[in-house]
């Protein structure tokens, strides 16, 4: 029998890739497994938004550091590139209700460290000439931006291989025995430590260890237009957070915001919900009127994990030595590479730069770990 790996990371999304990379660079032998392909679920199909204005306040310190990581990715990821682009971000209010929401949310996020200032509609149009009339108030954050998320897998891959990570795609883990034998078709992989990084499928993975961790699945819809002449130059949202808009260098405009489609853990993303599609594009066209000229090219879906309190699950798995979990980070792509780095620090026995998010608070009674 071959020697066990120091650590097995299950799930090759942005959390798993980042954790695996920094563990390997920290000197561990690492195997990274995915039932599908690297960063082909939420990490490859999300809107690529690097915004503070949709990030939960508690995650702002993490997102700020991750923003820096994304913008400098080629430097720390062996040249891997997601075409990260920095630009200002605006969150706008069209109604009195949204003004109140925006004021409150900007204040809380500013207190958490995001450099957000409130400006009026005229000033917002100077930042974003594509913005519609009728904006009563806007929250302006100079630190914002976006990536081409579909490049994430290709960007991580060479760095992982260069760091010596054994990357096993198309390798579904079916269960875990002892500490730790990972059961998969065609054999077993053994490792001294285990990191679960399965995104929307974390609940199923925790169950391998007898841990009852309820995870809700969000089925986020995205819509992209054909290429068009420049209509905007910021990352744009509305106060509720239910819109994210950006235009890429090739001219296509990505319309998101977390409108819900049809899907589940068993079937993945099943279908775009027509009423969500219409609501989302109406919100977009109301905010940037020039989008009325666009042609919609494609829509798609990505599965996002959410814990009971909508805060992350990052830390040791209680009651099971050397087992760790990472995921369920709201706007998780934005914070992803940094979250992986700090979990790797903890697994390596170092003090993480920022506090983790232990999951004891989330476990149901009767759980193995209780």
């Amino acid at each position: 029998m071959t020697a066990p790996f120091d650590v097995a990371v299950v799930g090759a999304g942005v959390m798993g890739c980042s954790t695996a990379l920094f563990l390997a660079r920290g000197g561990m032998s690492v195997v990274l497994l995915d039932r599908g392909e690297i960063c082909r679920e939420a990490s490859g199909v999300n809107a690529g938004t690097l915004t503070m204005q949709m990030t939960r306040a508690a995650l702002i310190p993490y997102a700020l550091r991750a923003h820096e990581m994304w913008l400098t990715m080629p430097a720390w990821c062996a040249g891997g590139d997601v075409l990260a682009t920095a630009c200002p971000g605006l969150s706008v209010a069209f109604t009195q209700g949204e003004v109140a929401m925006l004021e409150e949310r900007a204040r809380i996020r500013r207190a958490a460290g995001a450099p957000i200032e409130l400006i009026d509609g005229r000033a917002a149009q100077r930042v974003e000439p594509g913005l519609a009339e009728g904006v009563k108030l806007a929250a302006h954050c100079p630190i914002d931006g976006f990536t081409s998320a579909y490049l994430t897998g290709r960007a991580f891959r060479p760095a992982l291989l260069e760091a010596g990570v054994a990357l096993m795609e198309h390798t579904p883990v079916r269960g875990v025995h002892g500490r730790f034998a990972l059961d998969m078709p065609g054999g077993t992989v053994r490792a001294k430590r285990l990191v679960l990084a399965g995104g929307a499928w974390l609940q199923d993975m925790a169950a391998w260890l007898g841990v009852d961790l309820p995870i809700k699945v969000l089925v986020n819809q995205l819509v992209v237009t054909e290429r068009m002449a420049p209509v905007m130059r910021t990352v744009l949202g509305v106060a509720s957070g239910l819109l994210s808009l950006k235009q890429y260098a090739n001219g296509s405009v990505l319309i998101g915001g977390g409108w819900q489609g049809i899907g589940d853990r068993a079937r993945g993303g099943v279908a775009v919900r027509p009423e969500s599609f219409l609501g989302n594009v109406r919100l977009a066209a109301h905010t940037v009127p020039a989008l009325r000229e666009a042609r919609v090219l494609r829509s798609w879906l990505g599965l996002e994990a959410e814990t009971a309190d909508a805060l992350p699950a990052i830390g040791p798995i209680p009651g099971i030595d050397d087992a760790w979990i990472i995921g369920s980070v709201h706007s998780g792509y934005t914070s992803g590479p940094y979250m992986g780095r700090i979990l790797a620090q903890a697994v390596l026995g170092e003090a993480p730069e920022q506090p983790l998010f232990p999951i004891d608070r989330l476990l149901r009674a009767g759980s193995n770990a209780a």
Binding site: R273, F277, V281
Partner: protein, 462 residues
């Protein structure tokens, strides 16, 4: 019924005349499909054998009482199996833009997909130059509108359309510089017994060939275009060591079933190269693996226009039965006749199957995905970087992310990726299908709305 070619016309006519409330949705201004296409309003074209067959199907359709929505772009598909977990499947919903640009939706308890094919073009240097068009596009120009694709034309690729297009160019007063047929003389000879079951086709083919011989058109069997050349527009066509001056190149390498709709509905598909590529898995009555969803005609596997109406009627009968509108009937005697059409169609489909050698010969700097400018070298590099499936290739290179959503490049890209990995084409899979089926203008679907009425969900917690 989605798609108004011969399969769709027959399916809709049968369903409507047997008591089902039926609507046929068709993108073109008139039903007919590619082979039986009717001329646009205001055009007068002398009727030929195809026109007469099409007119007969159109007459039956009109008499059936089926509602026919032509000129409409179906962009949205929902319902059926596309429901939340635990819910029963619902009726199918189709969102469309009408001929007048006004959006409308249709719901139906059963859906028959008769979506036909799109043309396969295996890329070669210069294939994106203006002046290079598909054989199917040339057929539309020639047959429906009496327009020549060029004054001096090279016709190239594979299949019977080659000779049809060349003969029609000559008949229209153009000259044909060469016919470049990827199939060898031996392949045609092997196909003859199957074609002999359709004496009408054989006679038509012989007439086309005679026309070419009479006009001293060079026919190059077992040959392929190696480059289309010209500064900003096509000036010449190179075939190995030979060069032909030309202002148009009509080229096509077979037909690929259009499966966007059946893929969107998550029906099971299988890769059958001799049927054109990926096709929905069907039972003997044209049922897909999704209840109340049927596929017929070339979109269910290429067999040609003559065989299509019968498969459309079989699908309609299955739907009528499944809906409880008719007892399960044994095959009607009328549907035995197409056995001959099926045999000839299968022989031609086999000849038009993807040719791996042609894919292997694509030079590295040739563009494969013209929407996104992705070259063969970029695809090979992505494969070397670990792209294993067509979906992953898309992420690695943007191949297939543009306006055509992989309809033009998907076949070649899949074959290149499979070759680079040393696996069968089936193993690289197909791209996930999502709505819209066709690019759709936002203005047309937005409608008039008040901002306050947009049903914005509750915001995430702060």
């Amino acid at each position: 019924v989605l798609g108004g070619g011969p399969a769709g016309m027959a399916a809709a006519a049968h369903a409507a005349s047997h008591g089902a409330r039926t609507v046929l949705m068709e993108e073109s201004p008139l039903p007919g499909g590619q082979v039986y296409r009717a001329p646009p309003a205001g055009f007068v074209m002398p009727p030929d054998i195809d026109r007469r067959a099409g007119d007969a199907l159109r007459a039956t359709l009109e008499a059936s009482g089926a509602e026919v929505r032509t000129g409409c772009r179906v962009w949205g598909l929902g319902g059926g199996p596309l429901v939340p977990q635990g819910q029963d499947a619902g009726p199918f919903t189709l969102s469309a833009l009408g001929a007048n640009g006004v959006p409308f939706a249709v719901t139906a308890r059963a859906l028959v997909l008769c979506t036909g094919t799109h043309e396969r073009i295996i890329p070669f240097p210069g294939w994106t130059l203006p002046g290079v068009i598909g054989l199917a596009a040339a057929t539309i120009l020639l047959k429906a509108q009496g327009v020549l694709p060029g004054r001096r034309v090279v016709v190239a690729g594979v299949g019977p359309l080659l000779y049809a297009v060349a003969a029609k160019v000559l008949a229209g007063g153009g000259s044909v510089a060469a016919v470049v047929d990827a199939a060898s003389t031996a392949e045609w000879l092997r196909a003859l017994p199957a074609l002999a079951s359709r004496p009408d086709l054989l006679a038509q083919g012989a007439a086309w060939r005679a026309k070419l011989v009479g006009a001293r058109v060079p026919v190059l069997p077992g040959a392929s275009v190696t480059a289309a050349e010209g500064e900003d527009v096509l000036a010449g066509v190179r075939v190995g060591g030979r060069a032909f001056e030309a202002d148009a190149l009509c080229i096509g390498h077979g037909l690929v079933p259009a499966t966007e709709a059946s893929r969107t509905y998550r029906a099971r598909h299988e890769h059958r190269p001799r049927d054109g590529g990926w096709v929905p898995v069907l039972d003997a009555r044209q049922r897909t693996t999704v209840p109340f969803l049927y596929a017929a005609g070339d979109g269910a596997g290429v067999r040609g226009a003559a065989a299509a109406p019968a498969s459309g009627r079989v699908a309609a009968r299955a739907a009528l039965h499944d809906l409880g509108l008719a007892p399960e009937a044994p095959e009607a005697p009328g549907d035995a006749a197409p056995a001959r059409a099926l045999r000839a169609g299968a022989a031609m489909a086999g000849m038009m199957a993807l040719r791996p050698a042609m894919v292997a010969a694509i030079p590295p700097d040739t563009i494969i995905c013209r929407c996104e400018g992705v070259t063969r070298a970029a695809i090979d590099a992505a494969a070397a970087d670990g792209a294993a499936t067509l979906n992953q290739l898309k992420h690695f290179t943007r191949c297939g992310m543009g306006p055509c959503q992989g309809r033009m490049c998907g076949e070649a890209a899949g074959a290149l990726l499979a070759a680079a990995r040393g696996v069968p084409v089936a193993e690289v899979g197909f791209a996930t299908a999502r709505i819209p089926l066709r690019p759709v203008p936002l203005e047309a679907i937005l409608g008039t709305f008040d901002y306050a009425d947009i049903p914005v969900p509750a915001p995430a917690p702060i």
